[in-house]
Amino acid sequence: MKEELFISGRDIPNIDPFLNIWHWQIPIYLYLGGLAAGILFFAGIFTILGKEKEMSTTVKWAPFLVPGALVIGLLMLFLDLKHQLFFWRLYTTVRFESPMSWGAWVLMFITPLSFIYAATYLKEAVPSWKWKYSILESAERIAIQYRRALAWVLIVLAVILGIYTGILLSAFNARPLWNNSILGPLFLVSGLSTGTAVIMWMTKDHRERKIMSRIDLVLIIIELFFITHMIMGMLAGSSVQIAAAELFLGGQFTVSFWVFVIILGLVFPAVLEILELAGYKIPVAIPALLILFGGLVFRFIMVEAGQITRYLY
């Protein structure tokens, strides 16, 4: 039998014995980014379909959460930087090869646009609201006039943002757990699903809840399908990818992944949604909270487990 041992005198903080350079800020940011993308995506879709009245929470009220989520997400990104005073360097270059550069620029556009979108419904939310300056009044008129165009732009940016949260990780060839091409779509679907969960939870309209519940059910099924694909792909991959998959199949993340992400975060809420669609009375907070919690745990696990995986030589 052949054995291989590695002995190294190296002990660099956050690098040895396992890479741990990204802490809790990154998964929270990925989560909030996905959530914001999910809400904006459906707000945009139902605006274009002209369903402002029937889907009022989706189109009008849930998007008020988006600017907050994006600003907190950006704050998390900023907190994670080690050379914070130089953060502006992100905006002095456009690097097409770098997913992080893409993400920084998309956030640069989507964050102000999400503020504008929410502002167009501010008067409906707070009837007594008056803008302080007359220029804002006319700006609001223009924004409302072009709301559908804004919705189109937001849909495109939301999809890019949602996929980017996955590609940020999957572009790293050196971390075999992340380095699979399904991670981008998987994070997008997961983000859309957490978005629908928020809308389901917020709405008081029974019909709207039912529609979002159906959409969410489809998203959960797609997500389970993608996760299966991801693990199958890794098991059929090279030795480092097999080792990465084993973190979830008997390794140290097995319990947290299967219990919190798969069962409590996806399968159980899907069952509850099916029961509700079948006519049973189920408090909507339960599936919604489970989906939101499962999505958060999923991102924490992926970020932490991915950093452990590496090339062996």
Binding site: D11, F86, A171, N173
Partner: protein, 173 residues
Amino acid sequence: MAIDTRKCVGCSDCVVACQTENDVPIGFCRDWVTESVHGSYPNVELEIRSERCNHCENAPCVRCCPTGASHIVEGGVVLVTGNKCIGCGACIQSCPYDARYSHPEGYVDKCTFCNHLVSRGGKPACVAVCPTKCMHFGDLDDPNSEVSNALKNRKFKVLAPEAGTNPQIYYLT
């Protein structure tokens, strides 16, 4: 750079020379010594390697850098511009060799092949100090350079070639 694993005794002189030459903060290092043991007793084989940034031709750290702080200079050396680096950690994640670290001042730091010495015609500190002369440094494009000659008559390997980075440190085996 070519490193003769049959001559290296793992004394760590290269590590200390680098830390001194480059003012590497205490607790960090830009190069390190790895001992790799193959087989099981009594048929054991030991390989000692002085490792550092591989200055890859297809450097993932340069590709993923969002600000262009990581870059390749003429001659193929991968460098980081400290005041362009935002400390996002993307390059640290992207390196299959874990050759980069976050400097206590915030920016990312790594082996520079002692570019400040080499550009004046000198040798990297680790190469200059090596007591067994197991390291060869030079221009791989020049067929008569020390490093090209070292690679001519010996078998060699690179680390993790499957990572696709085209590393530029060759280990003579």
